[in-house]
């Protein structure tokens, strides 16, 4: 009987142990929250630069395919685009374009080891079309005023996943567009 009366100290001590551990755990958890946010920012950054790399690749394609860009029929791209949907671009209504390209970053940069693993988890997909008019229609060429230069738009999406497994539902996708003209025109 006297044992149980004195028994309050032990459960109290155990309670204090739990409370103190929880207090420490709270501190750790808010710190880990910030660390995680930094990681997400890191992935966003690389996805953005993946999209920019897509635009550069689009420009390179245009330089070597100027003939394809003058008036040959355009194709409906929506079926072929894996993750860079035309719906990401609010100013574009049509789905016709000249070409598309898709690469994982480790395919366009020569890297090895850790870096190779990381870059293989980012990719871009781009497509090139006439720049749309004010209603979003891009079935015909629009020229820069006072010149003979046609406005083309390179639409590019960067993804934080490899090129074959990137899905807009699961991955973070950064969408960019760049309006360019050909200096040869």
């Amino acid at each position: 009987m006297k044992n149980t009366e004195k028994g309050f100290a032990l459960p109290l001590a155990l309670l204090l142990l739990v409370v103190m551990t929880l207090m420490g755990a709270v501190l750790v958890s808010i710190t880990v929250g910030d660390i995680r946010a930094n990681n997400e920012k890191d992935y966003s950054q690389q996805a953005f630069y993946a999209a920019e790399s897509g635009i550069v690749h689009g420009k390179k394609w245009m330089k070597t395919n100027t003939n394809t860009l003058t008036g040959s029929p355009q194709k409906n791209l929506d079926g072929d685009l894996k993750f860079c949907k035309t719906s990401f671009f609010p100013n574009l209504i049509g789905t016709n374009g000249f070409t598309l390209g898709r690469k994982s970053l480790n395919e366009v940069m020569s890297v090895s080891g850790d870096e190779q693993t990381r870059l293989s988890n980012f990719s871009f997909e781009y497509f090139i079309a006439y720049s749309p008019n004010q209603s979003g229609n891009n079935s015909s060429a629009k020229k820069k005023p006072g010149t003979n230069k046609t406005y083309y738009t390179i639409y590019s999406c960067g993804c934080d996943g490899p090129k074959n497994s990137c899905r807009s539902q699961n991955n973070k996708i950064v969408a960019l567009e760049a309006v360019v003209t050909l200096s040869t025109q």
Binding site: L16, M20, M23, G24, V26, L27, I30, T31, G33, D34, A37, N38, E40, K41, S44, A47, F48, E52, I55, K59, M62, K63, F88, F89, P90, N91, S131, P132, N133, Q134, K142, K144, P145, K149, Y151, S168, K172, I173, V174, A175, L176, E177, A178, V179, V180, T181, L182, S183
Partner: protein, 290 residues
């Protein structure tokens, strides 16, 4: 024999009291240590989060600054009818005027979001209503600012709590500071010739198309006090005279951090690319913001 059953011995009591006192002191100092740790860590998390969100937003706006949709002239809701007129509003700063120390900058950025509509984004330090010294960095958005009937009200879309300093330094493609990039030129910009007319155009306007790089300094303060002893603080951001030199005296107990980022403004001074020319970029992000 019966006496022993009823009570404790003197030794027992003394030992119990000593153990009890040690426990109390230990508990008290543990609690104190924890309190200080919690204050320090939670305040730093707040600073880290504010700065990350603010700078991500600022970088995105700077990348878009000056973008003009090819269809904008002719269908603009603001009635802008010439490229010249559109190019008078691309990016501007007013330096050394805002914030608690009167040294913060205001940044205005314009870019089109559709063939018809243009957004103006203003970053500047504003005072909290219930305080005399606490400022926050606000991001105000106005769609079609010149549009009269078609313009929308100003919406404060983001604010960054407890910002001590916000500095913007714009440089040209040779890495030299542009002292006057403005449409409505402030005192400092006027001293750099912002209102001077050269070849029929105001220097403040022609400089907008020279902007190649934007550098941003952001100093954020902890919402609550962190240190136990007051300390005087000096904040020096940027390159004199285009920057800040702030001394906080008498000291206080807040924690401060300064963040720096530098962005290439892709739609303004275009790089000397000789190939597929006139590149203009706009960022329309989905999920890009953190």
């Amino acid at each position: 024999m019966k006496r022993k059953n009823l009570g404790f011995t003197l030794t027992e009591t003394l030992v119990a009291i000593v153990i009890g006192m040690i426990s109390v002191v230990a508990a008290f100092s543990a609690y104190n240590f924890y309190n200080k740790s919690y204050a320090s860590v939670s305040q730093k998390v707040a600073i880290s989060k504010s700065a990350r969100e603010a700078l991500s937003m600022i970088v995105r706006d700077l990348r878009n600054s000056g973008y003009l949709d090819p269809n904008f002239i002719g269908s603009s809701a603001e009635g802008i009818s010439s490229w010249d007129s559109a190019q008078q509003k691309l990016i501007e700063i007013e330096s050394k005027y805002f914030g608690n120390y009167r040294q913060g900058d205001r940044l205005n950025i314009w870019y089109t979001i559709s063939p018809k509509d243009r957004k103006r984004i203003t970053y500047k330090l504003k005072k909290y209503q219930n305080s005399s010294k606490d400022y926050y960095l606000s991001r105000d958005v106005k769609i079609n600012p010149e549009g009269g009937n078609t313009s929308h009200p100003i919406v404060e879309e983001l604010f960054v709590p407890y910002v001590e300093d916000f500095q913007v330094i714009l440089k040209d493609k040779d890495g030299n500071i542009l002292g006057a990039v403005c449409h409505a030129c402030g005192a400092m910009e006027r001293s750099y010739g912002g209102n001077k007319i050269i070849n029929g155009k105001r220097k403040g306007h022609t400089n907008m198309l020279e902007v190649h790089t934007a550098e941003i300094y952001l100093t954020v303060r902890s919402p609550k006090e962190v240190y136990s002893k007051a300390r005087k603080t000096k904040i020096q951001n940027g390159e004199s005279p285009h920057g800040s030199n702030i001394t906080i005296n008498p000291g206080d107990k807040y924690h401060r951090e300064t963040f720096f980022v530098s962005v290439h403004t892709r739609n303004l001074a275009t790089p000397q690319v000789k190939i597929a020319s006139s590149g203009q970029s706009i960022g329309v992000g989905t999920g890009y913001n953190k």
